[in-house]
């Protein structure tokens, strides 16, 4: 097993190098690039610009620049943001925990809902529940999550009021236009405006809508995978054997069917998980959540290429790590597979 992990880790290295080459070359195509900020500075003469370019090594061929950049990446020097002039790793480090917090909660909710529904659906194939669940899974797969986020804001932030707010009680703020009504749920940020140290209640309130939006990501797909895999397993001979030796239905389902159906689902989910960062990009942009996705969005708007590059690299590392995790989880859950 250790041998297999090592081999996969070694295989991941050239993949990462290739991705970094692609992204580096793409970004070096950008006009102005790192010099744009200096060219706009009226205090610098064209000679100064040339001198600075030489100092940064920008007049060298691209493969030399890539080599220098790669050497710095390895030792943890990821350069500085074009806009804030703070180190890229520091900027990302500030936001990554917020993104992970959002993703972790949303993803747990997705699994807690979709896996049991998929299982139950398959065990009661063609029942009313199955039809309804399958229909909603299809709907969930087709809903653009950014639109879902906007709808959540319209309903829970714009239309519905907080019932415990004074005087008016529960009212549709859109129609009643009361001045002191508060929205039912906050529609952005991690804390009320101007509050640096929010209470746990405030934190949770601010998480409800973005988490709901992000939890939609994958909900439909995982429900359908789980249903499909369970159906695949449930007619196998070993299930019949388990039934015929008199095990309770509960034992048959939990011990024999569930675990075997879960193995391929776990693999697909692990392969899918990095895609959640893409979902988080939309969630954080819509809900002004100070995470890595929003940082990427703002950097893209400002042409902050060192930061864009850093975020893409972090994502690439995570994708490769999750691919490895997918393989390992499969080996763990399916005893027929042993790597050596």
């Amino acid at each position: 097993m250790t041998h297999y992990i090592l081999r996969r880790l070694i295989y991941a290295v050239p993949l990462l190098i290739l991705i970094s080459i692609i992204v580096f070359f793409l970004i070096s195509l950008a006009p102005g690039g790192p010099m744009a900020a200096f060219e706009e500075n009226p205090n610098l003469t064209p000679e100064d610009i040339v001198r600075l370019e030489e100092e940064f090594g920008l007049n060298q061929p691209i493969y030399v620049r890539y080599w220098k950049w790669a050497k710095r990446i390895v030792v943890g020097d990821w350069g500085y943001s074009n806009v804030t002039h703070r180190p890229v790793l520091e900027e990302i480090g500030h936001r990554l925990p917020n993104t992970l917090q959002l993703m972790l909660v949303a993803f747990s909710i997705t699994l807690l809902i979709s896996i049991p529904i998929g299982l139950y659906s398959a065990l009661h194939q063609y029942s009313l529940f199955d039809h309804v669940a399958t229909f909603f899974a299809f709907v969930g797969q087709a809903i653009p999550i950014f639109w879902f986020g906007l709808i959540l804001i319209i309903i829970f932030n714009v239309w519905l009021n907080n019932p415990v707010s004074p005087h008016h009680g529960f009212a549709w703020s859109h129609f009643t236009q009361c001045a002191d009504c508060k929205p039912l749920l906050p529609g952005g940020g991690m804390a009320p405006y101007g509050v640096d140290d929010p209470t746990l209640g405030q934190r949770i309130q601010h998480m409800i809508l973005p988490v709901t939006m992000l939890a939609m990501f994958g909900m439909g797909a995982y429900t359908r995978y789980m249903r499909g895999q369970t159906l695949e397993v449930i007619y196998q001979d070993y299930i019949r054997t388990a039934r015929s030796k008199g095990l309770s239905e509960r034992m048959v389902v939990m011990r024999h069917a569930f675990k075997n159906a879960l193995a391929p689902v776990v693999t697909i989910i692990a392969l899918d998980l990095p895609g959640l960062f893409g979902g988080a990009l939309f969630t954080e942009t819509i809900f002004s959540w100070p995470g890595m996705g929003r940082l990427f969005y703002r950097s893209a708007q400002r042409g902050d290429y060192p930061l864009l590059m850093g975020i893409v690299m972090i994502n690439a590392v995570l994708i490769i790590a999750f691919n490895l995790l997918a393989d390992l989880s499969y080996a763990y859950l399916d005893p027929r597979i042993r790597y050596d």
Binding site: L29, F146, L150, I153, F277, G278, T285, I311, I319, I320
Partner: protein, 285 residues
């Protein structure tokens, strides 16, 4: 035969009907709608849905329904265009890998792995901002439409390539391929005339689903402001423009463009599902 099967898939038929209405609307909107997609009307700004404006008006007083069908042209054209490009690349790479095998297969499959490992939406955004600086007329037409087709196509061929490769691996050992080779057919003739037609079914199903995926990607990019640029309307950039408005209570500007994306995608997904059942030779009812 296949059509008989397809007809029995109720949701696929409903999806086809919805998609047909959307397509007809997108094609004939200029004859049907009394409004222009670009001319503003200051008297009618931010009107909620009414008889005159079934989906309301936007901040410049333009009829939202008219703009949605014009936007549908762009969104559907991008979804289709990017899919054609992606499927073409995927078929070429997949058939070469599957047919030649060995080192060619190894290299092309590593390339596919590489593209699968790319952080997709992040790279789409980087490519889209680079695209703004390129000055090629065909890419710049209709607010960057050509360029968006190109970058979506470049990042959507991997699944088709794997699918085609798998089909080729099993088909190339069959007798009909061997006999073609025996009578001296060239590799390109064997690939395109003999093997490829036999892989059409799964490719058609995958391509159908890819159209839906590309429509979502385009609207996502445009929603963030990195896709098709206004004044060319697409469902995505209409949603982008609606973000501030909906917080003021003007819900229709955000509701209808997204509803269109949703209806299109779910219709296409059901059609894909229906096609899969109808074209599956093992599944004859």
């Amino acid at each position: 035969m296949a059509w008989q099967q397809f007809k029995h898939h109720q949701m696929a038929m409903v999806g086809s009907a919805i998609l047909a209405i959307l397509l007809l609307g997108a094609i004939f909107v200029s004859f049907i709608s009394p409004y222009s997609p670009t001319d503003s009307s200051l008297r009618e700004r931010r009107d909620p849905p009414s008889i005159q404006h079934p989906m309301g008006t936007d901040t410049l007083g333009r009829d939202l329904m008219t703009r949605i069908f014009y936007g549908g042209r762009i969104s559907l054209a991008i979804g289709l265009g990017a899919t054609i490009l992606g499927v073409s690349i995927g078929v070429i790479i997949g058939s070469m890998a599957g047919y030649y095998g060995g080192k060619v297969d190894e290299a092309l499959m590593r390339l596919t792995d590489l593209f699968l490992s790319l952080p997709r939406i992040f790279l789409l955004i980087i490519m889209a901002i680079l695209l703004r600086e390129v000055d090629v007329p065909i890419l710049k037409a209709n607010g960057d439409m050509g360029g968006i087709i190109l970058i979506l196509g470049l990042l959507s061929w991997t699944s088709v390539a794997r699918l085609v490769r798998g089909q080729f691996l099993s088909l190339k050992e069959k007798e009909f391929v061997e006999s073609a080779r025996a009578i001296g057919a060239s590799p390109s003739r064997i690939i395109f005339k003999h093997i490829l037609p036999n892989t059409a079914t799964p490719i058609i199903v995958a391509a159908t689903l890819l159209v839906a995926r590309n429509i979502i990607s385009e609207s996502g990019l445009s929603f963030l402001g990195f896709g098709v640029q206004p004044p060319t309307p697409t469902w995505g950039n209409m949603l982008n423009a609606a973000q501030d408005e909906m917080r003021k209570g003007n819900w229709w500007m955000a509701f209808f463009p997204g509803l269109m994306i949703f209806l299109t995608v779910i219709s296409i997904n059901y059609i894909g599902d229906g096609l899969r059942d109808a074209l599956d030779p093992r599944k004859v009812k």
